[in-house]
Point group: C2
Chain length 361, copies 2
Amino acid sequence: MRLEILPVLGIGDVTEGDDLAALIATAAPWLRDGDVLVVTSKVVSKAEGRLVDVPADGPDRVAARDEVLAGETARVVAARGATRIVQTHHGFVMASAGIDASNVDKTRLVLLPVDPDASARALRSTLRERYDLDVAVIVSDTMGRPWRNGLTDVALGVAGMPAIRDHRGEIDPYGNELHLTQMAVVDELAGAGELIKGKCDQVPVAVIRGYLGETRDDDEGARALVRDASLDLFSLGTAEARAAGLREAATLADGPGPSPADPAAVDRAIAAVAGVVAPGTVLTHVTDHEVRAGLVATVPGWPASATGLILGAPPAPVDPADLVRFGADLQRLRTALAAEGISSALLPPPPGSTASAALAV
Amino acid sequence: MRLEILPVLGIGDVTEGDDLAALIATAAPWLRDGDVLVVTSKVVSKAEGRLVDVPADGPDRVAARDEVLAGETARVVAARGATRIVQTHHGFVMASAGIDASNVDKTRLVLLPVDPDASARALRSTLRERYDLDVAVIVSDTMGRPWRNGLTDVALGVAGMPAIRDHRGEIDPYGNELHLTQMAVVDELAGAGELIKGKCDQVPVAVIRGYLGETRDDDEGARALVRDASLDLFSLGTAEARAAGLREAATLADGPGPSPADPAAVDRAIAAVAGVVAPGTVLTHVTDHEVRAGLVATVPGWPASATGLILGAPPAPVDPADLVRFGADLQRLRTALAAEGISSALLPPPPGSTASAALAV
């Protein structure tokens, strides 16, 4: 058993309207059923006319490029300096939405194919119908990734095979069930194709031979590789998420949460701000049911769902500046509670108490 | 030109103290100079005795595993439910620090090799000295990644070739200089090796033939692939970074920053909290130099570096609860300023002013 990685030489420059299937079939008459074609997305984009004209240099070029980037961007994931990591309309998270200025005239930018899975399907279909070749097609591009230096080629689109090889449910020789092993084989195939493309000059298509037994059409393409942002532990850049935390703190909504606050978490929050509140400020966590019941009767608007109360008193003597500072300190505490996942509400002090304010948690 | 990916069959189970070089050389007498061996880290770990005993199941197993994980963890990057993405002592960011319970007895866990580059160097060196074979060695493992479903194999260690192929400075046929193209070829080679390993059962070593001309020892190994966390836009999970933002808000230090605050950013911060401050609260951004100069003379401790001041007044009439709420609102504003990168300080109101407090920015 062996796999082979072969370059398709002699395709030359690809321009708008070119017939990729014909270019590939002519350059590689040696293609066989079951081969996996790894096609650089740039030649797909060029053939499909996914190019925009921009000035060759200067501020106008920057402005034009920014506008193109905005059009390709579904959301900005992270930014630092001139770097923009964005999620594209396809769902891919890539630097500059995959817009590329290399291997193209200085006055043009290459955008990603509108639908790389459709591009792969079309190429596979044409090769089958016109050249009687039953191959799988991967549309690949070069991407960076968090945590690791260096880029690798991965799949943007695929037709003729599933994107993922699923080992879940298999049992290893020791009797352990494999829980997590879904391999993104099309990404590994794209990377394998890059190995030969990178050794040659200007080779936009590589062939992996021996990997597939038979092609298969019943798959969802490379969309299977796109993880939903809501499931992703890294859906935002660190700086962006930190700023989101700060903005959230600035606009914290009032209101205790639906579930009882964990007393240990409340105490952690009090401890977190202990070093920054005004000297002498007293914050007391009250969770006793009878005390709360008493307060429910006396504080207008006291929510019935409240499960705890922090009674606060500013440093004596009370002057207006101390009360302002005390309010700021309570807001710090509310924010520390929010960091523990605990909602809170700022309330007027209970009548008759020595407190100056109360937080419901 | 072609590359071949070949499996090394017949290695069988590897246990502590096994001589990997002998196992490989015996199983693959067909190895040639210039081959790249992709060796699954698990067999390296097993041969090196990187195994720990744990209970087969139950809470004791969970506790023992947690302890092992803590030992392998340099820092926690992200957590959700039982998932822990951590940075290992090597610098790799991986789920569960690469600790693996598959393909091993139920009472043992396999840890990553202590130094996968050293493991790769040792194997390469032994194959050269004892078997006169000049090959490159990659120690590979399976990893997930943000944003994309499915796992791929990547390199943890390498010897005999550089981890990265650097295209920077090259000129494409259109005259554009390639700025960013550093390819993590050892990751692509590791992935290519997985393609054949995954098609066979229990094949821990694959060979990539035709990729390397000559081996080369003058490299820094797979450490070149580890991006420093300070340079990484995704050094923390989104939830962790958001919570860090909240904690930062809770403990904001007093003090205007060293550089003048951008007036537009200050106004954005005021607008951000406009909907949540008490009705009637007035926040006025004062940047006029003379006003500030006047305040410098009258407010004790007013910092000379201050470049702006927000004067606040609570809704009239002033009662203690309003002042507490007003203080909380000023803290919200400080947090919104922090989200814009602007430091601030809460000050007593200037004597003689109608304000109740001042923020220096």
